[in-house]
Point group: C2
DNA sequence: GTCTATAGGTAGATAGAC
DNA sequence: GTCTATCTACCTATAGAC
């Protein structure tokens, strides 16, 4: 029988064993990291026996890879679409921040997971991951910024730093959320509301910094 | 015999066993995290037997705590000094960015270590850490920004977001360095040079964003 | 204080019944 | 495909010699 991927989600069919494993593994790996995750805990979370994990994914490494690549690919496609869109710069910045923050609000723990696991591994591994076609690739945006600088439409700024600023201001509050929540004395709900308002703040902050003063 | 802490550093005396353990544990824990670190590997790095680690620090948890608290405290004191300094806002921003980036360049792996370990643990643990007198505390800076807004010396901006922007732009490039290095096709040395130049870029970026247009 | 040896527990992975 | 039982390796921690 050909399994339709969307069937489980849209028609209330019980998830396949493989999907249950992946869902459980995602939770545990993202929360505890590769080294801290236990196959037993993933099996418990999936409501099944440990042996089944090995039946479906052979070993911990392969199960982890499946989870990691899915997490890694969650961000790039939509962002690359924006990076490469044919759109005025200020509008593109606003769109980028809005959509990036939306994806982050829906997947708040993925960035720290991906970053930590990339930190753990050798440069060769990172190179392999980043040669994937689904990697983030801001080159088109960098060229567009350079062009706007040359035309005198924005102040003289190094495009690499501008892009790094954009990414940093969006992602860091999610990566460091336990620290920042405690620092600002906010609970989880308040912090998420704060992030929602932050979309507008970041866009304004960037545009005010680069626009030419009249 | 009273041991002088600076003796080992300034007079070339051989480091004490305890200091050797701490130095080795720092390397391993920061590189691999608590869950990924092995007592055996720390002992090997320190050039001694595993049993000695337990003799000096009782267990893995206590050794980790010693390393973690030292790492955590590395940043706060100097930054709090700047946060609370009696200094014009723009000058304070420049000083903050300069000095923060310097500490980061000297300790590039500590932020991802601290952030990951705080992510792993319960809110109670984070609260305990953050009630420490050596915690980062930007309250004075936030008040100062609010005051400058009210006086009309800078544009109307939410001080919490401004502070979050400052921290994000400084720290994130270190936390996500494997990813960003690969994205920008830089080797380690080039990336560090890029970070050195970034000091000026960040200060300018912030000040251009908040200053009143003439 | 420092070492070797080992206890005691837990992890990933496999074998084999159903 | 799914379960139980178990193997083997490894990890933390301790015991005890020197």
């Amino acid at each position: 029988m050909v399994k339709l991927l969307w069937a489980n989600k849209y028609y209330g069919m019980e998830a396949s064993t493989e999907d249950k494993i992946l869902a459980a593994a995602k939770e545990i790996f993202i929360q505890k990291g590769y080294a801290g995750a236990r196959m037993q805990e993933i099996a418990d979370r999936a409501g099944m026996n440990k042996g089944l994990l090995h039946y479906y994914f052979k070993n911990k490494d392969k199960l982890f890879s499946a989870v990691f690549m899915e997490a890694f690919r969650k961000f790039a496609p939509r962002l690359n679409q924006i990076f490469e869109a044919d759109m005025p710069l200020f509008e593109k910045i606003e769109t980028y921040v809005d959509e990036y923050m939306d994806i982050l609000l829906q997947n708040p723990m993925i960035p720290s997971f991906v970053i930590h696991e990339l930190n753990q591994r050798q440069e060769e591994f990172v190179q392999e991951i980043m040669s994937n076609k689904d990697r983030p690739n801001p080159m088109k945006l960098i060229v567009q910024i350079q062009s706007e600088v040359q035309k005198g439409n924005i102040r003289d700024i190094n495009p690499l730093h501008l892009v790094m600023n954009m990414i940093s201001m969006c992602v860091f509050p999610f990566v460091a959320s336990p620290l920042l929540k405690q620092l600002l004395q906010m609970d989880q709900k308040t912090y998420l509301q704060f992030m929602e308002l932050r979309k507008k703040e970041i866009s304004t902050f960037i545009i005010e910094s680069i626009k030419i003063k009249k």
